[in-house]
């Protein structure tokens, strides 16, 4: 099975963010970029399928500016992906999922792809658009919030569950298709030290975002600012839960004035 995984570099959850000098973006110096959380699961799922289906290969693709995009591709190679393609964005327009989907679709279309995997959404903008847009642009079915993705060789179909508000749906899909992954069978693996060293030497195919580069509706931020610092909390001292509740209700009514 030829598997393409699309991944995105996002700020590490523990990063202490700062706004850039013009206030319109993150200060890239303040940010350490890593593979987005659901994308980590997508890579893990791709590798699990590769291990389960003989003769499979995993090609990882990312759209974005350097060096963060190159770094997340190397981390995916260190995890076990076979090949990598970096679609270089002309600028740091990370907030435009429609543009990213067009750029990715142009890069993925000529690659052999039985399955295109993405994280269901990225941890920075949480837009969840790219997987669906990729399906549309590649002209193949797409599915989001997928868990428990398996290949049934006898039926030559993918079988999986979708997590919905109403419960879990059971699905089958032909290939090729696009899957926005919610959860792999396993927690994402950790790259081993020799694989990390090897990934530094791997060749990454670099392609331009297209000529002219894809455009589309942009939702670029006007201004980045940090949330205001939290004001002091008030601790209530109490002996019994009843006393705590009484004191809290009194405070909510008289000081916070959330009750009449």
């Amino acid at each position: 099975m030829e598997i393409v995984v699309c991944v995105k570099p996002v700020p590490e959850a523990e990063t202490r963010l700062r706004a850039s000098a013009d206030g319109k973006n993150l200060d890239p110096e303040s940010v350490k970029f890593v593979l987005a959380g659901y994308d980590e699961s997508a890579v893990e799922q791709a590798l699990l399928l590769k291990e389960a289906v003989p003769g499979s290969a995993v090609h990882v693709v990312s759209y974005g500016p350097g060096p963060r995009t190159e770094e997340v591709l190397r981390s995916a190679i260190a995890l076990g992906c076979d090949r990598a393609t970096w679609v270089e964005s002309p600028n740091d327009d990370g907030a435009a999922p429609g543009v990213a989907a067009r750029a990715l679709a142009l890069a993925v279309a000529p690659l052999p792809h039985d399955l295109v995997l993405c994280g269901k959404q990225a941890g920075d903008d949480e837009s969840g658009i790219v997987a669906a847009a990729l399906g549309e642009l590649l002209g193949v079915p797409d599915f989001s919030a997928v868990i428990d993705l398996r290949w049934d060789p006898a039926a030559a179909r993918l079988k999986f569950q979708r997590a919905t508000e109403a419960g879990q749906e059971t699905w089958e899909a032909p290939t090729p298709c696009v899957v926005g992954l919610q959860q792999a069978w396993n927690d994402p693996r950790t790259a081993k030290l020799p694989a990390i060293l090897k990934s530094r030497k791997a060749t990454i195919a670099k392609v331009p975002a297209g000529a002219p580069p894809p455009t589309g509706p942009q939702n670029l931020p006007e201004k980045f600012e940090l949330p205001p610092p939290r004001t002091g909390a008030k601790m209530v001292e109490y002996q019994t839960p009843e006393e705590a509740a009484q004191k809290l209700v009194k405070l909510l009514r008289e000081e916070a004035k959330v009750f009449p």
Partner: protein, 382 residues
């Protein structure tokens, strides 16, 4: 001017170690310290990720890293637990004599199967009657045909109760002093090899330490490292390679102490404000930060010196000595910042003081480091 920026490769190695330290080691550090547990499952994971035989070239199944990269990894691991780090890196110390003194045939025969799976090795130099006075060691190696017969006792040997391989320093003739010392590789399974019981220690309680008895242990001549009498040089050159990562280990403990103290100082209130707003605490934190930064830079410089082909005896002694003294000082000040809470075992900082203490003692006591530093220094004026 030197370039202090890390390469992308170095950053990714550090990230790997940091992730392992935070997710696998840190959650178990307090428990292992409390009960003195040797967390073999964590050491196996460290091996699986390639974090164990850092100095062994890739052709023999190790990670093949330079001293700089080893230091970056060791500092991250030690930030989570000094004791676990000691056990994770003990193989580097035990295998270095084979790298330095072994023939290609010995490296092939011994290191390849050893590094292919999870195994622990121990460096057996120190004896009950002395560690710093390595030239006066008493373990005896008597040649009988194509074998040596080893007799003696080693003590304070890291990982000894759990190791499958020992690199042993013994004398073929005590009257020759350090010129009689010879290095051997001895498997745990050899008849007459008996590790003692795991010692109760002040710190590094996730690491195991014991004596090793050698009673009529027959070692083939093929397992001697280098010629007779070359063992002392092998031991000293080994320590030249491994001393700097001990500086990094101490730096990791010191950084952890600073991190705990700074975070606590922002939360803890006295006289109506966070103690971080009191100048007394600010001065403390500033001094701690200076110590940590200087320890790290000295360690990096020593590593850089060795990675550029120099022996680095002076630089590594300065780094190890300074960083370990700094670790003790910074851990002490972290406890002071926590006040009474810092003295309680429920809080993480008293462990750091106990762990820091060993870094002043092992792999060359700091008194020996200062002797070395003075000797190297005075040679420039003589």
């Amino acid at each position: 001017m030197p370039d202090f920026s890390l390469t992308a490769e170095q950053e990714s190695l550090r990230d790997l170690a940091r992730k392992f330290a935070r997710t696998e080691m840190a959650p178990h550090a307090a428990e292992c310290d409390k009960v003195g547990r040797f967390p073999e499952e964590i050491y196996r994971k460290a091996f699986d990720l390639g974090l164990m035989n850092l100095n062994v070239p890739a052709e023999y199944g190790g990670s093949g890293l330079g001293v700089t990269e080893q230091c970056l990894i060791v500092e991250e691991l030690a930030h989570a637990c000094g004791g676990m780090t000691t056990s994770v890196i003990a193989n580097c110390l035990a295998l270095e004599p084979i790298l330095l003194g072994g023939t290609p045939e010995q490296k092939d025969r011994i290191l390849k199967p050893f590094c292919a799976e999870y195994h622990l090795a121990s460096f057996c130099l120190t004896e009950p009657s002395g560690g710093s006075d390595a030239g006066g060691l008493k373990t005896h190696a008597r040649r009988e045909g194509e074998e040596y017969v080893l007799d003696g006792e080693k003590c304070f040997i890291t990982n000894a109760p759990n190791a499958s391989l020992y690199t042993v320093f013994a004398t073929v003739d005590p009257s020759l002093k350090h010129r009689g010392i010879t290095a051997f590789v001895v498997p745990r399974t050899a008849k007459g090899v008996t590790p003692g019981k795991d010692e109760e220690k002040m710190g590094h309680r996730a690491s195991s330490t014991s004596t090793v008895q050698f009673e009529n242990v027959r070692v083939p001549v093929a397992d001697r490292l280098g010629a007779e009498g070359e063992g002392f040089s092998v031991a000293m050159r080994t320590l030249d390679q491994t001393r700097t990562p001990i500086g990094a280990l101490a730096t990791g403990i010191a950084q952890a102490a600073l991190d705990h103290a700074a975070a606590y100082s922002l939360k803890r209130q006295t006289f109506g404000k966070a103690i971080a707003e009191h100048q007394a605490i600010q001065i403390k934190l500033a001094n701690m930060a200076q110590s940590v930064h200087a320890a790290r830079l000295l360690t990096w410089h020593a590593a850089w010196t060795i990675d550029h082909g120099a022996k680095g005896t002076l630089e590594s002694s300065i780094a190890k000595c300074f960083a370990s003294d700094a670790a003790l000082h910074v851990a002490d000040e972290a406890i002071q910042t926590f006040g009474g809470y810092g003295y309680m075992k429920e809080y993480p900082v008293e462990k750091l003081l106990r762990d820091a203490k060993l870094t002043q003692i092992y792999e060359g006591a700091n008194e020996i480091q200062r002797t070395v530093i003075a000797r190297e220094l005075l040679a420039k004026y003589a």
